[in-house]
């Protein structure tokens, strides 16, 4: 579904991605792991068009994403839940969700809203509340719900567990799995490697801008280097 080849991305002189290649197949959850500064966020931002690569290709459903602006990538079926959630704090929960469906005119919007409320009943209770006043967990739910309102075929998640209590992390990951089982392909960036590998089918390990390792979730979970570096052993 998504294929990335030899991706090079720079911030000015900083060479952040040095030839990243990865692939996500339809129906999968693929985990992208790596330490701080490895380039995980940069990879997602480049897919969703917020950054442009200096070299390399991104192909989505057999069509190139080269030169497609961020606001048009959504139309290609990709929704990005950015790092740090980036919900619209001054908008209400409902308005945030409306913005998720900004480009849609089909009549699937109402059913999708219901779907989001089924996944996150909390959001329904808070529908009229200004998003900035939500708790951290609720904000993460809103960020994911907002992305689902675009009815994406590919969902990019950047550290959905960041800053959440362990119980909530469990809950969010269960929901991510559920979203995947409902038919959405997922590329999941995480520092919480243990949790990510639990729900992912496959994974990649990114180290300072290059893919250092790849394999099935089980293989990565067994790998001695991964266990030492990311699973705290």
């Amino acid at each position: 579904m998504l294929r990335i080849d030899d991706l090079h991305v720079y911030y000015g002189e900083i060479h952040a991605l040095k030839g990243v290649g990865l692939e996500v197949c339809r129906g999968e959850i693929v985990a992208l792991l790596g330490n701080n500064g490895a380039g995980k966020t940069t990879t997602l931002k480049t897919i969703s068009g917020l950054l442009s690569p200096r070299r390399g290709h991104i192909t989505l459903e057999e069509r190139s994403l080269a030169g497609v602006a961020a606001h048009d990538v959504v139309l290609r079926g990709v929704a990005h839940v950015p790092e740090g959630r980036r919900i619209f704090n001054r908008l209400t929960v409902r308005e945030n969700l409306t913005m998720g469906a900004y480009l849609r005119t089909d009549d699937g919007i109402e059913p999708d809203l219901e779907r989001v409320f089924t996944l996150f009943p909390r959001l329904k209770e808070r529908i009229g509340q200004v998003a900035g006043t939500l708790s951290g967990g609720e904000q993460q739910m809103l960020a994911i719900g907002r992305a689902l309102m675009a009815s994406p075929r590919l969902l990019l998640l950047d550290e959905p567990s960041m800053g959440l209590a362990p119980v909530l992390v469990e809950q969010i990951f269960a929901t991510i799995r559920e979203i995947n089982q409902q038919g959405t392909t997922i590329l999941l960036v995480e520092q919480n490697a243990a949790m990510a590998l639990e729900i992912a089918h496959r994974g990649y390990v990114l180290e300072t801008g290059v893919i250092a390792l790849t394999g099935s979730a089980a293989e990565l979970g067994e790998n001695a280097d991964v266990r030492r570096a990311y699973l705290g052993e």
């Binding site: 969703s48 068009g49 917020l50 602006a69 961020a70 606001h71 048009d72 959504v74 139309l75 929704a79 990005h80 950015p82 980036r86 919900i87 619209f88 704090n89 001054r90 908008l91 308005e95 409306t98 913005m99 998720g100 900004y102 480009l103 907002r146 675009a150």
Partner: protein, 323 residues
């Protein structure tokens, strides 16, 4: 001191202040909406405002020389003139953003500001050049329409002219429509989303540049409407007339909390009222020591005091850094 006299004129003073305040509010919206999405002060907005006034006067003079000014129903004439002024200023604002600000979007903050000041001078002198060639004069007077000068006596001490009512009604209608647009429509929500976080907005599929253009269009149109109303209310305009109301409207926007739309409306009204109160009462209350010409000093002193205690403005919130 004659208390009954002081109180007797109060309603009239408040009415005058309200009219001035609505004018400032309309202009202030242009500053505040643009600041909301770009964190940038559009210093050329005072000229965008006065261009509206010039388009209005040209249309009225044109209708007059065609003999249509008195033939057409006056509300229709007013609507035509308002729409023309709004369209011209709106399109001008969008154009200015496109050619003079957008290419500098990622330059250091001071650069677009200087560009805006340049545009401001350019527009002043462009109007002056055009009017000098076209009419041989650049001080123009709005043609009078007799109905507009009819006055109603509300009480013995308060009366109101038709044109004042026109200003109030038109300003209220526009502020109301803007409020609904920004708060009740999807595109209005998108404007607020872009104001808060451009990158996140683009991830929603919002074309940020288009929303920025729309913001200039709306802000410019409000400024153009204010220009026409200014002309209708006060009569005389020249290419440099925009500067002082523009500066005051900018202050009103800051007073309300720059970037905050209801704040701009409130700030405009507060400033207008302060100015009117000062103009009428300063000399009475100080026994003539301070005349009405000190009204700006008074109004701005109050503003400074308000801003000392509320640095973010009356309705402002903490200004976030842009990621």
């Amino acid at each position: 001191m004659d208390l009954p006299l002081l109180l007797g004129i109060l309603p009239q003073v408040l009415l005058d202040g309200l009219i001035l305040g609505f004018m400032y509010a309309l202009i202030a919206l242009g500053y505040t909406m643009v600041y909301g999405v770009l964190e940038f002060i559009n210093f050329a907005h005072s000229e965008i405002f006065i261009v509206g006034a010039f388009v209005g006067v040209e249309l009225l003079l044109g209708l007059k020389s065609a003999g249509l000014l008195d033939a057409l129903p006056w509300p229709l004439v007013l609507v035509l003139v308002l729409v023309a002024g709004m369209a011209a200023s709106g399109v001008l604002a969008v154009t200015v953003e496109r050619v003079a600000y957008r290419p500098l979007r990622h330059a250091p903050r001071l650069i677009p500001l200087i560009s805006a000041i340049g545009i401001s001078f350019f527009l002043q002198d462009a109007i002056r050049l055009f009017e000098s060639l076209w009419r041989n004069a650049f001080n123009l007077v709005y043609p009078t329409m007799d109905v507009l000068n009819v006055r109603f006596e509300l009480t013995q001490t308060v009366d109101v002219s038709v044109k004042s009512l026109v200003v109030i009604v038109a300003a209220l209608a526009m502020l109301g429509v803007l409020h609904l647009l920004v708060n009740r429509t999807k595109v209005g929500t998108a404007i607020r989303a872009v104001a808060e976080d451009q990158a996140a907005a683009s991830l929603m599929g919002i074309n940020v540049n288009r929303i920025i253009s729309l913001t200039f269009l709306i802000g410019g149109a409000m400024g153009g409407a204010a220009g026409v109303l200014f002309g209708v209310q006060y009569g005389l305009i020249n290419p440099y007339t925009g500067f002082i109301p523009g500066l005051k409207a900018f202050t009103a926007a800051v007073l309300g909390g720059i970037g905050n739309i209801p704040g701009a409306m409130l700030g405009g009204l507060v400033l207008g009222l302060l100015e009117a109160l000062a103009a009428s009462y300063l000399s009475l209350l100080t026994g003539g020591a301070f005349g009405a010409e000190y009204k700006d000093i008074f109004a701005f002193s109050v503003l400074i005091v308000i801003l000392i205690f509320r640095p973010k403005g009356l309705l402002g919130e903490v200004i976030r850094g842009r990621a």
